[in-house]
Symmetry: C3
Subunit: 207 residues, 3 copies
Amino acid sequence: MDRLFYLADLFGVAVFAITGALMAGRKSMDLFGVLVIAIVTALGGGTLRDLILDNHPVSWIRNDTYIWVASLAAVGTVLWVRMTQPIHERGLLIADAFGLAVFTVIGTEVALQHNMPHSTALIMGVMTGVAGGVMRDVICNEIPLIFQKEIYATACLLGSLVFIGMRELGTPHWLDTGVAMLCVLLARLAAIRWHLALPRFHLLNRD
Amino acid sequence: MDRLFYLADLFGVAVFAITGALMAGRKSMDLFGVLVIAIVTALGGGTLRDLILDNHPVSWIRNDTYIWVASLAAVGTVLWVRMTQPIHERGLLIADAFGLAVFTVIGTEVALQHNMPHSTALIMGVMTGVAGGVMRDVICNEIPLIFQKEIYATACLLGSLVFIGMRELGTPHWLDTGVAMLCVLLARLAAIRWHLALPRFHLLNRD
Amino acid sequence: MDRLFYLADLFGVAVFAITGALMAGRKSMDLFGVLVIAIVTALGGGTLRDLILDNHPVSWIRNDTYIWVASLAAVGTVLWVRMTQPIHERGLLIADAFGLAVFTVIGTEVALQHNMPHSTALIMGVMTGVAGGVMRDVICNEIPLIFQKEIYATACLLGSLVFIGMRELGTPHWLDTGVAMLCVLLARLAAIRWHLALPRFHLLNRD
C-alpha cells in the first residue's frame, strides 16, 4: 500500500514536470530552463511545505529518485514534441488532476503528523498541490492561471477537508486516502468537463 | 500591554490582507486567488523572516487566528466592493502605515531576541514590513511599487533604527515600541502628504 | 588559502550586487529598490541553499560583512553611473563569470559537507550560482535571461561535476577548488566569446 502510494507520488512528480516543461517551451526557454521549470513545478510545493513546517530533510534531497523522475519527464517532453508528436491535452489534464490528488493528500498528512491544527493542515494540503504551479507561472512571467480559470485549488481544499474529517472519524488509512483523492479527482474532472469556475473579483484599475 | 500589541498585530494582518485582496481584484482573480494573495501579503514577510532566522514554529502555523483574520478581511473586501461601496483610499493608506509600523517593530524585536547583529535586526525589521507586499506584486506580475513610489521601506528602516538605538539605551519596552512605531507612522504619513520619494536610478536599456 | 577563498567569495558578492543594481536601474527603481535587488541577487542563491539544506545560521545573518559589501557595491554602482562613467560590459561579464565559479564551488561543498547525494550536491552548486540572478529577474518582471541566452547554468553544472569527481578521487582541497573554478570560468568565457547556447525548446502558444 505504501509502495503503491510512493509510485503514485512519483507519477504526480512526472506529470507536474511535464506541465512545467510545456510552459517553458511556450516561453522558448533553452534545455536548462526547461529542466529548472520542470523541477520547480514538480517539487516546489512540497519544498515550501517542508520549509514552513521545519520538516527536514526536505523530501527530495536525500532521495534523488524525485529529481531523476522530474528531469526524465522534462527531457521526454522535449523529445516527444521534437518528434512532432501531438500533446494529448485532455490526457494531460486528467493526469494532472491525479497528481494534484496525490500531492494534496500527502501535504495534509505531513501537517497532521506534525500535530498542526486543522486549518494549517488544510493550507499545507492546498499548498503542496498548487504552489509548484504558481512558482512555474511566476518565473515564466504569467499571472497564475489557477487563480483565474476553472476550479483547481478548490478541488484540493475539498480533498483536504474530506481527508481531515475521515481521519477524525478514525477510518482506515487506505480508505481516507482513497476517498480524499477521489474527491479531488472528481471535482477537478467535473470542473474541466463543465467549465466550473469560482466567481471572479473585478476591480477597475484606477492608477 | 502584550495583549494590546497582539491586537495591533492582528490589525496589521487585516489591513495588509485588504491591500492584497484589492490587488487581486485589479487582476480579476477568482475568490481563491483573492484569498491566496491576501494571505501571502499579510503573512509572507513574517514567514520569510522566521525561515531565515530558523525561528520555528512559523508564527501562524500554531495559531490559526492569523489565517482567519486574513481570510475574513479578504472576503469582507470582496463583499464590500460587490455592494459597490467606495474604498476610502486615504483611510486605507493610513491603516497600512499603522500595520507597517507594527510589523517593523515585531521583525526587529524577533531578530534581537535571536541575538542577531544590529544590521541583521534592521534587515529583518524592514523585511517583515515589506516582503509580503513585494510577494503580492511579484505574483500579480507587477514591478513592486514600493521600489518606485513614495518613501515606504525607508520608513521601516528609520523605525527599526530608532527601536534598536533605544533598546541599547535600555528604555522601557512600551516606550521604545511606541516611539519606533510613531517614527514609521509619521515618516509614512509625511511621505504620502508631501509625495516624498527617494531619488530614482534611471539607466537606459541597451538590449 | 581559506582567507583567499573568503575574499573571492566577497568579490563574487560585490559583482552579483552590481548586476542587480544595474537591472534595478533599467527598471528606474529608487535607491531602496536598488539596494534590495542588489542584496537579493548577491545573497539569494546561498540563502535558498541554506534553507533547503537546513544549514543554519544562514551565512550572512551572523557576519554582516556580506550585507555591507553588497550594499556598498550597489551604492558605488549608482554613483559611478551618475558620474556618467561608462560601464565596462565585458569586464563585468568576466567578473560575473568569476563570481559564478566561486559560488558554484561553495554551494557544492556545503552540500557535500552535509553528506548529501551527488545529485543533490550538483543541484546545490547550480542553485547557489544562479538562483540569486533568477530572483532578480523575477522581481524585476523579466523572464530569467539565463534560461534563454548563452550557456550560463550549464557552466555551473560542469564545474560542480568536476568538483565532485575530484573530491571522490581524493585530490587536495586547493586543487579541486581551483580546477572546478577554472572549468566554470572557461566554459562561461567561451560561451560569451563564441555565443554558445543550448538548443531552445519552442512550443507554439495555443491559448
